[in-house]
């Protein structure tokens, strides 16, 4: 308000007086642009997610600090006991903890959506004449960036600690690619819970209840060979196991066709089942 002195009316510039002429210029009915296509609308919502990161950078804490802690903690906790040294363990463990961390942060998709519903934004979004899934697809697009960031952070920490993937750059990128594909598909589980559950807290609660057993009862930390039979049976069908095996294969420079196929099948299943359930709820609230 430094320019108060320059206004001749003596009125502070912050006092708004609606003027019919000014309003007339924005109210004239113009020709309506054609509605945007599905991709364009989804990308616009993705842009919104990027803007949110720009304005609230603290939200990146869970994709940077949390994964670093996970890697350090488990490498030094289990490394000596499960392998000859933390460094040896890391060669086995890093792809697994990368998967665990990224899959864990998929739950924030549900939390974010629930937050939107809590506020009024969701109402405006749902009255827009755009492709219906665009808001959710765009939200997940934004989240993909977070997944990639988390994966790269973990890879960076791993390399510093001595992780030496024999698959080279291409293998590692392939592994991250597989992880991102799965995470995109898996996010639809959380959009569904984000729509169905009443509060952010309950979304968090359910997410944790699903994610902890899913990530720990797998081949992330140890080879399943020493587990009891019934547990091995679960670990064997757990999609996280397929994902970890596929990512391990890729970073090691071998293409694990069976596990990649399972992982893609699971991904397609998640999108099909939970994508459909999500859109059903989205349209019927």
């Amino acid at each position: 308000m430094s320019d108060t002195a320059t206004t001749t009316t003596g009125r502070a510039p912050s006092v708004y007086v609606p003027s019919a002429e000014a309003l007339a210029t924005v109210l004239a009915p113009g020709s309506r642009p054609a509605r945007p296509g599905p991709l364009s609308a989804s990308l616009s919502f993705g842009w919104r997610a990027l803007l949110k990161i720009k304005h609230v950078p603290e939200q990146l804490f869970d994709v940077t600090a949390f994964p670093i802690i996970m890697v350090l903690m488990f490498t030094y906790l289990f490394g000596g006991a499960l392998a000859d040294s933390p460094r040896d363990y890391l060669q086995f463990f890093l792809p697994g903890i990368m998967v665990t961390s990224v899959v864990m942060i998929t739950m924030y998709t549900g939390v974010g959506l629930n937050n939107d519903i809590e506020k009024g934004v969701f109402d405006r979004i749902r009255t827009l004449p755009v492709w219906r899934p665009a808001a959710l697809v765009g939200m997940i697009f934004g989240d993909l960036l977070r997944y990639i960031l988390a994966a790269l952070v973990i890879l960076g920490v791993g390399l510093v600690l001595g992780f030496r993937p024999s698959g080279g750059v291409l293998g590692v990128l392939g592994g991250i690619g597989l992880l991102v594909v799965f995470s995109f598909a898996f996010s639809w589980v959380w959009t569904f819970f984000g729509l169905v559950l009443r509060s952010e807290k309950s979304v968090m609660g359910v997410s944790m209840m699903v994610l902890f057993p899913l990530t720990f009862l797998s081949n992330v930390f140890v080879e399943p060979a020493t587990m009891p039979g019934w547990l091995q049976a679960f670990v064997k069908v757990n999609p996280i196991t397929h994902l970890v095996s596929a990512v391990r294969g890729a970073t090691a420079g071998t293409f694990d066709a069976t596990n990649v196929m399972w992982l893609l099948l699971w991904s397609a299943g998640f999108v099909l089942v939970f994508g459909t359930l999500t859109m059903y709820r989205y349209n019927r609230r």
């Binding site: 708004y16 609606p18 009915p29 642009p33 919502f45 949110k52 519903i117 004449p129």
Partner: protein
């Protein structure tokens, strides 16, 4: 846009919507002529918000029919969405984003290319006096600014029908007047406005027709004049210096105005309903006469005011219960979300 200004903007027949055991809409019939401001007046929990949410395609009705410009809100939701906009009671923008980013985003989603979306956002911000605040996050806006950017967002695509759900609730008088001016400008440019409110004077100021809603049903409908003639267009509130003179004052007022006079619990206070024929001028004349006659009778008046009947008085006149009786259904809004 064949019927942007003609015909019916909204038509509902026996609209029903329940939340659990609560019937938020219980056979709502509305006819909103295009090109006007239509007021939906009612207390908290009367079903106003539910009605707006059904019409804006956010909620599905359980029964009955609702059409917006002839399009069914369930079967032709997309056509409805292309022509309506909603400004809800809560800020419906992303609070983390700046005002300008919110408008550009909406412009993009409505099909504008980035430069056009930017241009439109700038024009809207300027027209709504928000240029200075364009780069600030919406969560840092004041209540009045928030409401303005919300309305700006709602007219981004110059909708044919704009829903405003209690647009001035919680605003200070100046912000309220700004919103009223904006609404007048919007309707002058051919957009139909459906406005919900708890204030009779707001509906009276803006609306061409008013529907009074209670328990999910329309209990009265008409022009503000018609409604007021059934309630009286004003109420005189007065306080005397001397409680002992109240019986005399009552007699004087009855004789001078020929209207019922009500004695309040406060021993010096009394009220009288005036303007029974529904004109504000008659109400003023009667008020002047009342004050004159009291002075002539030597009765000292300490406090005298003429106001519009409150929603409570409207409800008392139209039903046999005050507006507050609907309060047990305050949770309707919560359930609607």
């Amino acid at each position: 846009m064949s019927n942007r200004n003609t015909g019916l903007a909204v038509e509902t027949d026996g609209l029903v919507r329940s939340f659990g055991a609560t019937r938020a809409l219980d056979g709502l019939d509305l006819r909103v002529p295009a090109g006007t401001v239509y007021g939906v007046l009612g207390p908290n929990g009367a079903g106003k918000t539910t009605a707006v949410r059904v019409l804006a395609t956010l909620l599905r009705p359980d029964g009955g029919q609702a059409r917006v410009f002839g399009h069914d809100v369930v079967a032709e939701a997309d056509q409805v969405r292309a022509r309506v906009s909603l400004t809800g009671q809560y800020a419906s923008l992303d609070e983390d984003l700046t005002g300008s980013e919110n408008l550009v985003l909406l412009g993009r989603l409505l099909g504008l290319r980035k430069p056009a979306a930017r241009e439109r956002a700038e024009a809207l911000l300027a027209a709504f006096g928000l240029t200075e605040a364009a780069g600030r996050q919406v969560k840092k806006y004041s209540g009045g600014m928030r409401r303005r950017i919300d309305i700006a967002a709602s007219i981004l695509n110059t909708p044919d029908l704009l829903f405003l759900d209690e647009p001035t609730t919680g605003l200070d008088p100046r912000s309220r007047n700004q919103v009223w001016e904006i609404i007048r400008a919007v309707v002058a440019h051919g957009t139909t406005v459906l406005l919900t409110t708890q204030y009779l004077d707001e509906a009276d100021q803006l609306a061409g027709r008013i529907a009074v809603v209670d328990h999910g049903r329309v209990i009265a409908e008409g022009t503000p004049g018609e409604l007021k003639s059934s309630v009286g267009s004003g109420t005189i509130h007065l306080r005397l210096r001397d409680a002992g003179r109240r019986p005399d004052a009552e007699k004087v007022l009855r004789a001078a105005l020929g209207v019922p006079v009500q004695l309040e619990p406060d021993p010096v206070a009394m009220t009288a309903r005036v303007g029974e024929d529904g004109t504000d001028l008659e109400a003023s004349e009667q008020a002047a006469r009342a004050l004159g006659e009291l002075a002539r009778a030597g009765i000292v008046v300490d406090d005298f005011s003429l106001g519009q009947p409150s929603l409570d008085e409207v409800f008392l006149a139209l039903t046999d219960h005050p507006a507050g009786a609907a309060d047990e259904r305050d949770d309707e809004l919560e359930a609607a979300r």
